[in-house]
Symmetry: D2
Subunit: 136 residues, 4 copies
Amino acid sequence: MSFSKFKSEFRVRPDDIDMFQHVHNSKYFDYVLAARYEQMERFYGMPMEEFMKQGYGWVVKTAYVDYKRPLTMGDEFIVETGVETLNEKGCRVKFSITIKKTGKTACDGWFDYALISLETGRSMLVTAEMIAKYSI
Amino acid sequence: MSFSKFKSEFRVRPDDIDMFQHVHNSKYFDYVLAARYEQMERFYGMPMEEFMKQGYGWVVKTAYVDYKRPLTMGDEFIVETGVETLNEKGCRVKFSITIKKTGKTACDGWFDYALISLETGRSMLVTAEMIAKYSI
Amino acid sequence: MSFSKFKSEFRVRPDDIDMFQHVHNSKYFDYVLAARYEQMERFYGMPMEEFMKQGYGWVVKTAYVDYKRPLTMGDEFIVETGVETLNEKGCRVKFSITIKKTGKTACDGWFDYALISLETGRSMLVTAEMIAKYSI
Amino acid sequence: MSFSKFKSEFRVRPDDIDMFQHVHNSKYFDYVLAARYEQMERFYGMPMEEFMKQGYGWVVKTAYVDYKRPLTMGDEFIVETGVETLNEKGCRVKFSITIKKTGKTACDGWFDYALISLETGRSMLVTAEMIAKYSI
């Protein structure tokens, strides 16, 4: 089975810039998160707010990021993400961030996500309904 | 050759907490960074400021983080880091973050760092002097 | 003399949300900063990068923010800013942040900015050329 | 009636530094917040977690910050805060941040806080019990 990929476009905020005049490395995490939230809402029809209303949250279990070239002040960039694997234990989402003006990759990598109960903080099985909504 | 490991102790700041009442996942990057800076100054005798004065910066090339259990509001934690490999191309630093009150691991992983010229932003070879200072 | 007002539109990023499920209060500072940078580039013809190339930076001297209602996850919002006073000592910029879907004010206030030398960190006089470019 | 002042000590984290090599101006908000949380726990005997368990949160209504000189990388600093006024509508907290190595003021100012219900997000009256605990 293969899953769709989706794109979101953002711009670097001045508060993302660090002492080296580059986007601070931990901010790329936040860019992927922002893309994923937007895409959950626009493309999957089940936004994070819906998970939270049902008492669930998605948290990162493992992260891998390969930095290739930095984003700098004012850069526009495209975050492409797509599910790579998805089952009741969780999902792996691959991503790449592309600098708009050059078409070059700023970084790429993947995140493994697990579903948690907001009440207990414990891992939960991903339901068949969730898997169906995200198998596009 | 084996390298020393060093420990730094910090406390979660309220602005690190996210909508799930946990430390936001990108903040663990910043905790490792904070530990590394402190340890560069205290243990290696060549702090980041010294690299910057000489026109150099250290940037993350690749990051791998395995999240085990979240830090929450007010938690004290210990960041242990140590060089795993070091040569003129850069270094790999392993880390683990331990929750002080339970002794359990919040997350662990590694970062590959490269040296850059602050003027050009390009990768530079790590000098013999730097390798000597960090080979403890 | 009266100065023009300009608008920029943004969207809340998930990493802006705090433990109360609202945009964290310090992030509104960053939203005004982002609007101001964009407007310096688009409307004044002298972006922050140009100041920095000439060896200058703008820093906040005094800030006043009146919070009225919170922005929450996924909200789109409009930041309107305008110079209120401008002379060789610096400028006061008024701002308001409006929630797009309701048209209600999230917060408003003002910032006093001073020009600094990036080399010394000291305050500098705003030049006649800068005053001319920003007197629109 | 006059209220006690309390001090907390922190150190600048590398991720607090911005493109001007100074602590980013919105971070001072977070430093005051961190001090206040620590002091609520240590000195007032009613930490933020206790308010949250009872269904309450404290949010900033108005903020005023006067920046005098920047904190920079590695600086240790002292945040002194104290209640200035306190009644059922909320409280005003004054603060000052002092650079430890010079004894000079980095910034000072005040925050007006209001109590909210975490469930509705609406303002709540501060209870007599809360006022008693914070009237020290």
